[in-house]
Symmetry: C2
């Protein structure tokens, strides 16, 4: 079982490789090789008997990407993308990395006869654009309002068609917002969803820039990795031709998140959150989807946390266990 | 008012140029120039004072396409595409012409600062893929089951995003199956919808390869040209960010089509249709959409025939008037 991880240095990429090294097997076969690729070289620990290698390069360079599939990996996790904010501020770079990069990867596979890897593709709920119904069902149309969402939606269409034509065996996952992200606070518009949990748990203050009644769709990093593994293992025939699925998540308000934090870590911890409304961030978030009914994904065996307390506990177990 | 027509030698392209020459104006301004481009050079008649030119070339050549927008046409009609059957049998060519060609056109516009033409884009109901509800509403998702439909759906996403970012002012039209197509019978799976009307009206036999209860979504060539004109003239602000619209049409069964033919042209004409079921064509057609509720397009002023007798009369007026 040879595995290629595109976007190996990102948060989910790193955690996925850790999980694969720990599991030692995928799709019932022992993992022999993992190659990780990203714009910067990824790192890993404790590879055991698995041959792990990491390289860095430019996904928009077709020759670079072609070389990555030369050894015909059995499973490819395509998590590589520049983020929403950068794709929005740099139009040309967004299309070059997120669209052309994806085309380079898919076309490198088409170029190899009789090669048909399982392709696990990270899409995003950013493929949806307001206005929305109260709950978004599996048959709701994709009308992204960002270039990032557009690029992800195009990747979904390519994945489904390339799969239908037998060039790959693809599965696209529309990931919820991943919370709690480890690391430093960042300035992404969605950053506060993680900041208001992670920082207080570390004894540090955090700013809440939106109203407590804002609802959003979330899953933990551990669930996101679980989606990747399940997407790699699921029988494609049971999925059928509609290969892009909205992943399960938890629809919860910011107020409920804070109440869960107080329950898990106490009132003193929750009191480290400072309410300071930011009109710009509030405006952006108002156009984000709030809630999905991820019926197909759930029926196909994908699962996520059903309470925010569980999401907090996952963060404590996975990130703060040395404390 | 300078106009560029991509796909000028196709059926709709030719009729659109004829209409533009006849109208002499678009968006309230006198037409001064029309340039038509296609893979083969288009023809035209009676240009009057309008400067009409035609060239042929390869839309997948970025330099060729760039030169076409050098004089910054005010309105671009992008009707150019290889058809569904060819895009399905030649995977590489389909993506090269239908996707890369569209990207070349859109990117040639982005490359010109302060240039923001109205882009009228011919999409298709092929962006939808079975299974469907009884009637397909405006918020139903796009899950194409052909490479052609995938390429058209990607063009829709690009058009909406490029419009949102201010690079163009786009309007995508999902065209119904156009009936009655003039010319010779062709072997396209959808050809019979036109053949069973056009051939008997010319005193010739025609084969019906599907059951009479097959329902499909249709509009006349004249309506398709009307969609193009209205799409060129409509105020983009009233459309909003969802720039791709399912065009209105008529949902009608083959049996109802034949009854209308009999009413317009008599029982002898209708008796020229021979029932001879073709399992392959029946199977393909079973996966096509049958009926839409094109609410947004209708509310925005797009209109089509509401009876098949009218569609037949349009054919007689526009194609058989010399007879």
């Amino acid at each position: 079982m040879k595995i290629l991880v595109m976007g190996a240095a990102g948060m989910i990429g790193r955690k996925l490789i850790e999980r694969l090294l720990n599991d030692g097997q995928l799709r019932g076969a022992a993992i022999t090789d993992i190659h990780g690729f990203d714009v910067v070289e990824g790192s890993f620990q404790n590879a055991g008997s698995i041959n792990v290698s990491m390289t860095a390069g430019d996904i928009s360079d077709a020759a670079v990407v072609d070389a990555l599939v030369e050894n015909q990996p059995d499973v490819i996790f395509h998590l590589a993308a520049i983020v929403s904010g950068e794709a929005e501020s740099d139009f040309e770079k967004g299309y070059r990395v997120n669209l052309l990069g994806t085309q380079n990867l898919f076309n490198a596979i088409v170029a190899r006869d009789e090669y048909c890897p399982r392709m696990v593709y990270a899409s995003s709920i950013a493929v949806f654009g307001a206005p929305f119904p109260e709950s978004i069902e599996d048959e709701f149309h994709l009308t992204p309002l960002t270039s990032y969402g557009t690029q992800k939606a195009i990747g979904e269409l390519l994945l489904a068609d390339y799969t239908r034509k037998g060039h790959m065996d693809g599965l696209g996952m529309r990931l919820p917002t991943v919370v709690v992200r480890p690391g430093k606070p960042n300035l992404a518009a969605s950053g506060f969803f993680s900041n208001i949990i992670r920082e207080p748990l570390a004894g540090l203050p955090a700013v809440l820039p939106v109203s407590e009644d804002v609802m959003h769709w979330m899953a933990s990093p551990r669930s996101a990795v679980g989606f990747c593994i399940h997407a790699a293992e699921i029988d494609g025939d049971t999925v059928g031709p509609r290969r892009n699925l909205t992943m399960p998540g938890l629809a919860i308000t910011v107020g409920e998140m804070i109440a869960a934090l107080e329950k898990v870590a106490g009132a003193d911890t929750a009191s480290l959150i400072e309410r300071k409304t930011d009109e710009t961030i509030s405006g952006i978030v108002a156009n984000w989807p709030r809630k999905f009914i991820a019926e197909r994904a759930v029926s196909l065996g994908f699962s996520a946390e059903t309470s925010f307390e569980d999401i907090i506990r996952v963060h404590i177990e996975d990130e703060l266990s040395e404390m």
